[in-house]
């Protein structure tokens, strides 16, 4: 495994290895000295063509805790604003001896394009490409679910766990990555959203598809994962208006209070409070939203360690 482009590329053994390595990294992150020498002398570039807070910072912290040198590239403030192409940007970084590219791009398939091109020999990690995939977020979510429902030390899969993903499935790379990984790990996956925001192949992706949130919530899911409503899509083509969306598809305080008290509430962030999720749900003790962010650093350390320290020895 040289690149991490999609959770669809991970088999069960690889997925569990990454999750269990993440647990070891959590151990490192709880020590006084939060540093491993594993990537000393290696250079990692954060290549972000799209805005991000938690993904970019957590990749940067993860790389630094493994002793790699990190350079940060953001499209704003670079030669991209002068019209430089993706290809020339990557060729430039390659010439400077970058060994790993962490890529966030607004076009689906950007990371695959770099990985399969002659532009670079670097390891490519997809940090979100358009509406396609965001594999490290899915690994973070899987780890959060496993530790919340099966215990901190558990090292197995997610069989027997029912996960409901709610909202804009169509445009969500988080949903797509999560569906792939959760299925690989043996979980039962349900999707709920307005039919305009469900992909046409929804019923073949998941175990169950719901067109009514209240109906879905009656089915005893262990995890309810709310997706961010992407405000730029809040127009008449997809959803009539924000109020209607919130009424039909939001995890309101009333819907939240009807859930059993063991139901885990998740959201990949950034949240639109009051739209897809109420503050009562987001701030409750059942909410794993802060854990999702905390686990992000450990998971990204595990991914960098596996791809750069363990597997790229065939230089």
């Amino acid at each position: 495994m040289k690149h991490l482009l999609s959770t669809g590329d991970l088999d069960l053994a690889n997925s569990l290895e990454l999750l269990n390595l993440s647990v070891e990294m959590q151990g490192v992150n709880s020590r006084d000295v939060k540093k491993l020498p594993s990537l000393t002398g290696r250079t990692v570039a954060n290549l972000f063509f799209e805005d991000s807070t938690r993904t970019r910072f957590s990749f940067e912290i993860a790389a630094k805790r493994l002793s790699a040198d990190v350079v940060n590239f953001t499209a704003k403030g670079s030669s991209v604003s002068k019209g430089e192409s993706l290809k020339d940007t990557v060729l430039t970084l390659e010439a400077m001896g970058i060994e790993a590219l962490i890529v966030r791009h607004h076009h689906s398939g950007a990371a695959n394009t770099i990985a399969n091109s002659y532009w670079s020999n670097a390891t490519v990690i997809n940090a979100g490409d358009g509406t396609h995939q965001h594999p490290t977020q899915a690994l973070t979510d899987a780890l959060t679910i496993r530790q919340a429902l099966k215990g901190k030390e558990d090292s197995g899969d997610l069989s027997g766990i029912k996960v409901l993903i709610v909202g804009d499935i169509l445009h969500s790379r988080v949903a797509r990555s999560n569906i792939d990984l959760l299925k690989t790990l043996g979980a039962y996956v349900g999707l709920a959203g307005p039919s305009t925001l469900l992909p046409s192949e929804a019923s073949s992706l998941a175990d169950a598809v719901y067109h009514n949130l209240d109906e879905a919530l009656l089915d005893g899911f262990d995890v309810v994962m709310m997706l961010r409503m992407q405000m730029e899509r809040m127009n008449s083509v997809f959803v009539p208006n924000a109020n209607e969306y919130s009424t039909l598809w939001g995890l309101s305080s009333e819907r939240f209070s009807n859930l059993k008290s063991s139901t885990l509430i998740m959201h990949p962030g950034p949240m639109n409070r009051g739209l897809e999720i109420s503050s009562e749900a987001a701030d409750s003790s059942q909410s794993a939203i802060v854990d999702q962010v905390r686990n992000g650093v450990s998971v990204r350390m595990a991914v960098l360690y596996k791809l750069l320290a363990q597997e790229s020895s065939a230089k």
Binding site: E17, L21, V23, E24, G27, V28, R31, D32, V33, K35, L36, P37, S38, G41, R42, Y305, A309, Q310, E311, S313, K315
Partner: protein, 179 residues
């Protein structure tokens, strides 16, 4: 290829009992001792040394005095060699302050594993002292490192291979040299 058994099951048992006595003697008792095995077989040896100490010194409590220290992520040959899978590290103490840590491994060879273990240990804190116990010292050190407690000194040529087998992980118990 010829192979020769240099320690049999009984020899290994006796070496472990002797090392456990030497550790307690040098430490002037069992207070503030922490025994850490280096995976895989170092962990088994550490558990056996602790069991042997506990048998003779009832005040010694293995559950808070034995752990394991995975050093894979601290190795200096990560970039050139495919590395092993990382296994859990467990250190049954909050702080290493005032403790004498005894690192346990099966074979001492180049000394690079021990160097990695020293680095790994430092990330947990500052022990009062660190000692090293090994079942076999085969020579060919590449670093200024030596063992404090040795089961068997085994002069070898560089091309020979040493196989340590213990009942916890293998179907027999012996130390075999293959040339």
């Amino acid at each position: 290829m010829s192979s020769r058994t240099v320690l049999d099951a009984q020899d290994i048992e006796r070496a472990i009992v002797r090392i456990s006595h030497e550790i307690v003697e040098a430490n002037q008792g069992t207070a503030n001792l922490l025994i850490l095995g280096i995976p895989t077989r170092g962990v088994h040896l550490a558990n056996r040394i602790a069991a042997s100490i506990a048998k003779n010194y009832p005040e010694f409590e293995p559950s808070t005095s034995v752990g394991k220290l995975d050093v894979t992520m601290f190795r200096d040959d990560l970039a050139s060699k495919p590395s092993k899978a990382v296994t859990p590290t467990s250190i049954p103490r909050q702080s290493l302050e005032n403790l004498t840590v005894v690192l346990v491994d099966d074979v001492l060879f180049s000394g690079r594993t021990v160097r990695a273990a020293l680095d790994a240990l430092v990330s947990f804190g500052r022990p009062k002292a660190v000692r090293l116990a090994v079942l076999v010292d085969r020579g060919h050190r590449e670093l200024p490192i030596r063992a404090d407690y040795v089961g068997k000194n085994l002069p070898t040529s560089f091309s020979e291979r040493i196989f340590v087998k213990l009942t916890e992980s293998d179907d027999e118990q012996s130390v075999v040299i293959e040339k």
